[in-house]
């Protein structure tokens, strides 16, 4: 399936782009992380410490083991610091 993958804040900076479109068969966010980390050292570095990474699927916060079936957009970002 085709997915838009978005990055924010320091994840965006480490990966070097705010978004990319990828083809994947990943069933869960965790599988997608493994695929992305295998692409190059920048993805690997940005996604190395998952305790510092938050995920949204189609603009809703999600867990690492959430299924990707039907998803169109997945975003990775650090813990939020709003307010």
């Amino acid at each position: 399936m085709a997915l838009d993958v978005l990055y924010f804040a320091w994840l965006r900076e480490r990966i070097g782009q705010p978004r990319e479109r990828i083809e994947t068969q990943a069933a869960t966010v965790r599988e997608l992380v493994a695929e992305l980390s295998a692409m190059d050292e920048w993805h690997a570095a940005a996604l190395a410490d998952l305790s510092a990474v938050r995920v949204a699927i189609d603009q809703e916060l999600a867990e690492l083991d959430a299924p990707l079936a039907g998803a169109r957009e997945v975003a990775f970002f650090p813990p939020m610091t709003g307010g």
Binding site: F8, A9, A75, F77, P79, M80, T81, G82, G83
Partner: protein, 144 residues
């Protein structure tokens, strides 16, 4: 009953004019850019367009239901904000003060840790560190 995301400054007083008319108790919170002892000249706030608006509206509606609000408003800025400028505000209106206070604190706790905003410090020499999430902010959520 409105959530707004914008880069333009806002005026707290103007936002509160007429807010809560017919209600008994109005609480507002606003957050301002601190200079952190001269380390900062500005904050740069990144957000997730699309998700942000949905998240703010969802938190507002949840607070309205849970605390029986007569009205609520959330406004959050993004982009470059100079020291002293307002970053965001929430306002809540309810019949009695306890509900209005609790709803405002509830909204702030959710915004701090669950709304997709990221702050970066801008010092005299340019962009500095991304602001780290505070453990107290995460802990604050557990009370609701």
């Amino acid at each position: 009953m409105a959530a707004r995301v914008q880069s333009a400054p806002f005026d707290l007083g103007a936002e509160l004019a007429g807010f809560g008319a017919g209600s008994g108790a109005v609480v507002s919170f606003s957050g301002l850019v601190r200079d952190e002892g001269g380390r900062l000249v500005a904050l740069e706030i990144e957000h997730y367009p699309g998700m942000t608006e949905k998240a703010l509206a969802a938190y507002g509606e949840r607070a309205a239901q849970r605390f029986g609000l007569d009205d609520w408003r959330i406004l959050h800025r993004h982009g470059r904000l100079a020291v002293g400028e307002p970053i965001m505000m929430v306002a809540t209106a309810a019949r009695h003060r306890a509900a209005a206070f609790q709803a405002a604190e509830y909204l702030m706790d959710w915004l701090k840790s669950r709304a997709p905003f990221w702050k970066r410090e801008i010092g005299p020499d340019g962009p500095g560190a991304w602001v780290a999430a505070r453990a107290e902010d995460e802990d604050a959520l557990s009370r609701w």
